[in-house]
Symmetry: C2
Subunit: 205 residues, 2 copies
Amino acid sequence: MNNKKIPEIIIGRLPIYLRALQHTAENGIKTISSQELGELVGISAAQIRKDISQFGEFGKQGTGYSIEFLINKLCEILKVNQTWDVIVVGAGDLGHALAHYQGFKDRGFRVVAIFDNNKNKVGQTIGSFKVEDAAEMSERIRSLGVKIAVMTVPASAAQEVADVLVQAGIRSILNYAPVNVNVPSYVKVQYSDPATNLQKMTYYL
Amino acid sequence: MNNKKIPEIIIGRLPIYLRALQHTAENGIKTISSQELGELVGISAAQIRKDISQFGEFGKQGTGYSIEFLINKLCEILKVNQTWDVIVVGAGDLGHALAHYQGFKDRGFRVVAIFDNNKNKVGQTIGSFKVEDAAEMSERIRSLGVKIAVMTVPASAAQEVADVLVQAGIRSILNYAPVNVNVPSYVKVQYSDPATNLQKMTYYL
DNA sequence: TTTTGTTTGTGTCAAATAGCACAAAAATAG
DNA sequence: CTATTTTTGTGCTATTTGACACAAACAAAA
């Protein structure tokens, strides 16, 4: 096991491995080689071995990796061997969709509240919860102890919302708004603007 | 202007620059320096200059870049100086949300159809269009000449759907399904699984 | 037991990416 | 007109990332 800092690019690949492993595990397979995993995720076997070896010697020569063991290790490393509470900010269509997205379950996340500043939306029922007033968001985040937020707000509101989130103790933001936000270095932001994602591909058309 | 192949990592940053520039242009500002743009997007000025210079000498010493000019150039490079038709596959919550996502407008994209294989959903109205039968998807893609698809289908269906899309002529896929898909090298896939995006951040909590 | 085959973990090298720094160009000020 | 300031484009260098290849470990077969 290596104690030096792990590059972010490696951390970013671990969820991909984890996803493929969990999928494979459902088919009752017990072990997997770096070669096989590589074919599943489109990454070279050597790359996968090196990535995994940053955290320990989890494989066995001649056999490969125990899928169950590796899943446990990856969950532990990524801290998803627990369920994280998540809030959604912005009760538009995308916010609605993410608020009752079934894919968070079993992947370590659970949406606990959704907020909007539009008084017409506040109080509306979305699945099992009601849209809460954004004005009370900060207090709610603190009392719930939430560390993760999903932002589905207009670009014009994103920075202001991000500031409130950070102030309230949020440490990870998944941002669907089409704008960069400025946050302290201890807060992570993942950008997921649909239009930007499409624009990354049109160059190749 | 450099004629050698542009690395994908640079292409991936261009939409970020474009987005910030368009936002800045709305405030009536005419020129911007690499320094200023860098602060907006959180990327070093040198990096931005080098990225942009791959495509030509668009700036002017002492002044910076004409925002309007640079926007036009970036749109041209990214081929978003036109509107691309897009289809959405999977009429779940996420499919719904993306089908009438307003953010595609003015960014080079327009959703023209949404498909699902669930007979109960087929025929339902979503915004201005009806959910179409996935069985007719291939034919519709061909007759519409669509090159870009957004997939919001269950993991179990993703590979099968991707195969149909590729067969029908789709060249870019924005994939929200939590699974890797295998496509020929001439087809681009961008992954945007919400849970995976969150898992990339929990390591740092 | 011995041999053959498989697969990991990692040292070494190669390639890709990013940072630095500065000449040259343009703008501005004196 | 000259000096100063600003800012680009880029050559050079450093760092990061990825590929290769192989000894060592283990499994399986003979």
